[in-house]
């Protein structure tokens, strides 16, 4: 009895020692995060409540003005639409990657990675060319007689949504592929023998089982989209700004660190809140615990 207690004590001790030595190795990274992330964030938070005068004036102005609310609204709607689109488009691709013969899936995977590794500016400019009034897409649509007038696909939120969906796709496909690969195809065969149509296999088995991957990808995309700068700046219009553009304008053009800091802080809080919700719904080990 005491022996067993001792043994478990020793084991606990050993684990603690191991954790402590692990901390030593993690120290450089932790210092880096502290000095270059935590400190600036706190500094920015301070400036948002101290400049130009101490108080919550910046926050009141930010959340009280219809112009700024509009920008928050734009940002959330675009991010939500981009998230829904990339999950919808990414799911079949991830499924294909998971079930294709290894040779072909490696190739397709390489294409996806390659597009992800291509310079962001290059890809965004490419979309500008494709989407402009005299661009390929408008020309083709007019050529086949689907439209008479070129569509306004760029310099507005439509352009931003298209461009960002494309850029965000890999961030959905990668985690989804990982989760789908762990699903035993025999489970789907069992569903089929049980009487489930292809559609029922998809909606009642495959999608529920892939949900943790979809949630991880969706979270990644939504949070990244909230603070995305380059694509909205290049493909968006001047009238419909997004949050990151607004922060940049406060800091760079208006040199208003108070407002910039307040906007950045609101974004951070929203992001953390969404992450907390996701953890609660799809957190590690939730599957199979029941109840």
């Amino acid at each position: 009895m005491t022996l067993a207690a001792n043994a478990s004590e020793t084991r606990l001790e050993a684990r603690r020692t191991r954790a402590a030595s692990g901390l030593v190795y993690a120290l450089p990274a932790l210092i880096l995060v502290f000095v270059f992330f935590v400190v600036p964030v706190v500094a920015l938070l301070m400036r948002s409540v101290l400049e130009p005068t101490p108080g919550l004036g910046n926050y009141a102005e930010l959340l009280g003005s219809s112009t700024y609310i509009r920008i928050f609204y734009n940002t959330f709607v675009v991010s939500a639409v981009v998230t829904v689109l990339s999950v919808t488009i990414g799911f079949p691709v991830a499924w294909m990657l998971a079930i294709m013969p290894a040779r072909w899936s490696t190739l397709l995977f390489a294409v996806i990675l390659l597009s992800m590794w291509t310079n962001l500016l290059t890809r965004t400019y490419a979309w500008m060319v494709l989407l402009q009034r005299t661009g390929v897409i408008n020309k083709v649509l007019m050529g086949i007689g689907l439209i008479d007038q070129p569509l306004a696909l760029v310099n507005n939120l439509t352009g931003v949504t298209i461009g960002m969906t494309y850029i965000m796709l890999p961030f959905v496909i990668l985690p989804l592929r990982g989760v789908i690969k762990t699903i035993d195809p025999a489970v789907l065969q069992a569903a089929s023998v049980c009487g489930a149509t292809r559609w029922q296999c998809l909606t009642r088995v495959l999608i529920p089982l892939a949900l943790p991957g979809a949630a991880a990808g969706a979270l990644m995309v939504f949070v990244m989209s909230l603070g995305y700068f380059v694509t909205p700046a290049l493909l968006g219009g001047t009238s419909n700004m997004m949050l990151a553009e607004m922060i940049a304008q406060f800091v760079q053009s208006l040199v208003n660190w108070g407002m910039g800091g307040a906007a950045a802080f609101v974004l951070l809080v929203v992001t953390l809140a969404i992450y907390a919700v996701q953890l609660r719904l799809f957190g590690a080990g939730r599957l199979g615990q029941g109840g």
Partner: protein, 360 residues
């Protein structure tokens, strides 16, 4: 003559260059427990997958009560199946797993609830309805899978080595459960296994698969007593073979020379015995006896190699002059076992009708 309940007719399945099933034909009666027994790669599982509609046969037909199943996709065949791997839906509880086939059939809720209760009782897991599959043992999961397959009263239940991942004790326990469930429900079962003991314990009849064809179909004792091929003889029960040559043929019996100085007379043969051609004489260990002098109609001088006491019997491994192994199983207390020691020369004897020859 009435139409058999389930007819498998000349099924053939080819993957690229690989012939998985060469030609399989089999009739199964309603309520029968039929086992497909064979080594891996013999085509037994593929045949089962063709029945389930998860594989398309290259040729042949499957008839259930006289009409073909091949035009019906798997989800409309209304066949039950338990897989080798655990295939419960991990995101659904036990009760929801069992309800799944009825939900996709859009049955009314009270009917679903009644069916779930009925089959949970059948597999004796009444208290597990709200449990998640990940929180259950492998044996429990396979019992739930069985319940799920029976929830919609399928006319045929397919089982593809459902117990192969379980340890021996648990396997035997569930084998008895499966037998009981078969008796209680009267469902027709096609069961795939590579374990002869499992096949013998469960089945009404066994179809022995080898290299994409069925070598023989029969009850366990028929297969044991009168194997049609050497493969069946090797696969069902223990057996030893003495390689020899056909000396003379008399109808279905032949005299076979197994050594320079020994001809075994009048051995029942399988295949076409031809004088001068090779033949293997099969002997079951419990049909052979040992003595100091040749005493039965067929005797062979052998050397004792090893003696193992196994409780109710003693297993004696011997070697012939041609260095072929011959096992002898002596019941407990048999006089021949007294004073036997390795290296000793003795005579192995048997009745001619207990030997069988397989002609090359």
């Amino acid at each position: 003559m009435t139409t058999p309940f389930l007819q498998i007719q000349n099924i053939r399945k080819v993957y690229g260059d690989v012939v998985a099933v060469t030609d399989v034909t089999l009739d199964v009666a309603k309520g029968e427990f039929m086992t497909f027994l064979g080594p891996s790669g013999s085509g037994k599982s593929t045949t089962l997958y063709v029945l389930a509609g998860l594989q398309e046969p290259t040729a042949g037909d499957i008839l259930l009560q006289g009409s073909t199943l091949l035009d019906t996709p798997s989800h409309k065949r209304n066949i039950g199946m338990v897989f080798q791997r655990y295939t419960l839906f991990p995101h659904l509880s036990v009760g929801e797993n069992i309800a799944f086939p009825l939900r996709v059939r859009r049955r009314p809720k009270n009917e679903i609830d009644a069916a779930v209760r009925r089959v949970l009782k059948l597999v004796r897991l009444e208290s597990f309805e709200d449990r998640m599959p990940a929180k259950m043992s492998g044996g429990q999961q396979q019992r739930v899978a069985l319940a799920r397959a029976l929830a919609y009263d399928p006319p045929v239940l397919l089982m593809d080595e459902p117990l192969s991942a379980l340890d021996k004790k648990l396997r035997e326990e569930i084998q008895y459960e499966i037998r009981r469930i078969h008796q209680e429900t009267g469902v027709t079962i096609l069961y795939v296994t590579h374990d002869q003991e499992e096949a013998l314990r469960l089945s009404d009849r066994i179809a022995v698969f080898s290299k994409g064809v069925i070598d023989q179909v029969g009850t366990g004792s028929e297969l044991y007593a009168d194997p049609a091929t050497r493969f069946v003889a090797e696969f069902i029960g223990d057996s030893d073979f003495l390689e020899g040559k056909v000396e003379a043929v008399n109808g279905k019996h032949a005299d076979i020379r197994v050594g320079d100085d020994l001809v075994i007379p009048a051995v029942p043969t399988h295949g076409a015995p031809t004088p001068g051609r090779g033949a293997a004489v099969m002997l079951r260990p419990e049909r052979v006896s040992l003595s100091q002098t040749p005493n039965a109609a067929s005797s062979l001088p052998v050397t004792v190699v090893d003696i193992t006491f196994l409780g109710n019997n003693t297993h004696v491994l011997t070697e012939t002059k041609a260095r072929e192994r011959l096992s002898v199983r002596l019941p407990f207390g048999h006089a021949a076992a007294n004073g036997l020691r390795p290296g000793q020369s003795v005579w192995a004897s048997w009745e001619p009708s207990d030997a069988q020859a397989f002609c090359a």
